[in-house]
């Protein structure tokens, strides 16, 4: 049990490495991936159970204590995100088990499973990292494998999107590494807690170096998580990937930069000191711009996947907005939205994947009249749309409640307008789709038969069900995240 924190990364890594050795046949690779993801889910759930009682699990890799060795730490935030992310992963893997055969060539198939597992390892590594350089390494694993699961599709647009993503990731990586180097230069520490402890002294002697390091780290991680003006790579990358990849990229991978910045803001750089800088205001402004402009872009899209991708830009802005308020309630809401959006957006991408594989079209017009032939998919899509708008009984409502309350609590009532406008705009681009799916006239005669292989349909329904459950009974995550927010703010 003591080793659970490290198993979060070691299990998927082992699975991924074993794929080219044992699983050169796609079905065997799939089973290997499924097994690994199930194990990870079990580990994460176990960790959640342990951290749920207020415990924080520390693990010294190689038995070297912190300033010398690397510590892996699972707090309530890490355990919770790891659990939900692993659940999303499980659903996506189940879905992909049927869909990759249609979307990928035979040679790419077994590598795809390996890359998916590597990405999971990267994600879990970032969630549990407590060492700045370790965080960087796992961020790079995640970024590189995220690009890779786009370019597995042998198509020109996927390649170009992956290249664009890769180049900007490299820029971000360079910035982050330089930031790490600057921080190390003036503190001599890499462990997050020790860095935080050493920072006040360093701030006396080298204030500008610290500022530069902060700027580099923030821009690097913001680029990786597509904060508004740095989002340019996202719509291409997320829309041209195979649908399971899009689900993971939009649902999970963009959250990593956010998690990293959360650690930086609240563990390394004292947030009370950050308040004196214009940084929170800037992040808030960028988040607000992302919310509004992203939604306007989304409305202009005729391609379903691009629309969802722009919607991700909106939601990332939303989360950053909540973080930058630096308020306990808003922080709870923002972290809750990390979970909610992970579930929602991956579900929506899988829905759209089903629709595309059924109709062969990816335009918004393809939705018209689909409710008759694809009832479950369209119902799930409806749940997703409702949650994006924040209608009660869906999980989106819960995070919206906390975000608005937090905005008021931090004394910025005017900023509530941003959140409400974002909801309204979401309604403006999601609801016409839902209405046309139920009441529109199909453009082309619809195929008879089931709406898709059960292995593709049921994961979507499962994700939608979890969204509803979290909307009706959000008590557990809220309690944990509220605790996390209090700890981070030092209350």
């Amino acid at each position: 049990m003591r080793h659970l924190p490290i198993l979060l990364t070691v299990v998927p890594l082992t699975g991924a490495f074993l794929v080219p050795v044992l699983g050169r046949r796609p079905d065997r690779a799939y089973r290997l991936a499924l097994l690994s993801v199930l194990l990870v889910l079990a580990c994460a759930a176990g960790l959640l159970a342990m951290t749920g009682s207020g415990q924080t699990l520390q693990y010294y890799v190689g038995d070297w204590p912190p300033p010398w060795g690397i510590e892996v730490r699972v707090d309530a935030l890490g355990a919770m995100l790891a659990t939900f992310f692993a659940f999303v992963y499980l659903m996506v893997v189940l879905y992909a088990g049927s869909s990759v055969r249609a979307e990928l060539g035979p040679a790419a198939q077994f590598w795809y499973w390996s890359l998916l597992l590597l990405l999971l390892a990267g994600i879990n590594g970032v969630l549990t990292a407590r060492d700045l350089f370790n965080l960087f390494v796992f961020t790079e694993i995640a970024s590189l494998s995220a690009c890779a699961i786009i370019s597995v599709r042998d198509r020109l647009d996927s390649m170009e999107a992956a290249l664009k993503y890769l180049i900007l990731s490299a820029v971000a990586g360079g910035c982050i590494l330089l930031g790490v180097a600057l921080l190390y230069m003036v503190t001599g520490q890499l462990h997050l807690d020790h860095l935080g402890a050493a920072l006040p002294a360093a701030a006396g002697s080298y204030p500008r170096v610290l500022l530069a390091a902060l700027a580099l780290l923030v821009s690097g991680f913001a680029l990786k998580s597509a904060l508004f003006p740095l989002h340019v790579w996202l719509p291409d990358a997320h829309s041209s990937a195979p649908s399971p990849s899009s689900a993971i990229l939009s649902g999970l991978v963009v959250k990593l930069g956010i998690v990293a910045l959360v650690r930086l803001f609240f563990v390394v750089f004292d947030w009370r000191r950050l308040v004196t800088l214009p940084l929170p205001t800037m992040v808030m402004a960028m988040g607000a711009l992302g919310i509004v402009l992203g939604a306007l872009f989304a409305m202009g899209q005729r391609d379903l996947k691009r629309m969802l991708a722009y919607s991700t830009v909106v939601q990332v802005g939303y989360i950053y907005f909540g973080l930058a308020l630096l308020d306990e309630i808003a922080l709870t809401g923002a972290l809750m939205h990390v979970v909610n959006h992970a579930l929602l957006k991956s579900m929506l991408f899988l829905c759209v994947g089903l629709i595309i594989s059924r109709t062969g079209e990816r335009s918004t017009a393809a939705m018209a009249g689909l409710a008759r032939s694809m009832p479950l998919t369209v119902a799930s899509f409806t749940v997703g749309a409702a949650a994006m708008v924040g209608i009660p009984l869906t999980n989106g409502f819960v995070s919206k409640w906390y975000m608005v309350l937090g905005t008021l609590n931090s004394g910025r009532p005017a900023m509530v307008a941003v959140i409400l406008v974002s909801s309204l705009l979401s309604a403006l681009y999601y609801f016409p789709l839902v209405v046309s799916a139920y009441f529109g006239r199909p453009a082309s005669p619809q195929a008879e038969g089931p709406e898709g292989p059960p292995a593709m349909v049921w994961p979507v329904v499962g994700l939608a069900a979890v969204c509803l459950v979290l909307g009706i009974w959000p008590e557990l995550p809220l309690r944990l995240l509220g605790g996390v927010a209090r700890v981070m703010l030092g209350l």
């Binding site: 350089f133 390494v137 790079e140 590189l144 690009c147 890779a148 370019s151 020109l156 647009d157 390649m159 170009e160 992956a162 290249l163 890769l166 180049i167 990731s169 490299a170 820029v171 990586g173 360079g174 590494l177 330089l178 180097a181 190390y184 230069m185 890499l190």
Partner: protein, 122 residues
């Protein structure tokens, strides 16, 4: 101590940062994909040089101990070397991947010019 002198005793850092910026400029500004890859490597080399410079102390030796030695001499900081090693490997992987994408795109479109690729796209 004026600004020029302050910069002079930190010449290594300046050089490293200059490399970083040159690389960044090429990576973002140059339309040729191969040049972009080069820019990426130059940028990363700049960071590595910077890291290695941090670790150097005047008159220090390479951090390899002699067997049986009990004296502790002055060695360069081994941690930055380890970081650089990791960084290099990450850079190599990224480069390999980027180059393979570039090759693939070149075979598809017969060009390495980003502007023309972008136009082909839409």
């Amino acid at each position: 101590m004026g600004m020029p002198l302050a910069l002079f005793v930190r010449l290594n850092y300046m050089a490293a940062i200059t490399l970083f910026l040159i690389g960044l400029h090429v990576l973002l500004g140059h339309p040729n994909l191969i040049k972009k890859v080069m820019g990426m490597n130059i940028m990363e080399t700049g960071v590595f040089l910077f890291l290695v410079s941090i670790g150097y102390a005047r008159h220090s030796a390479a951090p390899i101990m002699s067997p049986g030695g009990a004296e502790s001499g002055l060695y360069a900081n081994p941690l930055v070397s380890a970081i650089v090693l990791t960084g290099i490997v990450i850079a190599v992987s990224t480069t390999a991947y980027t180059l393979s994408l570039t090759i693939k795109l070149y075979e598809h479109c017969g060009t390495l010019d980003v502007n023309r690729l972008e136009r082909l796209r839409r």
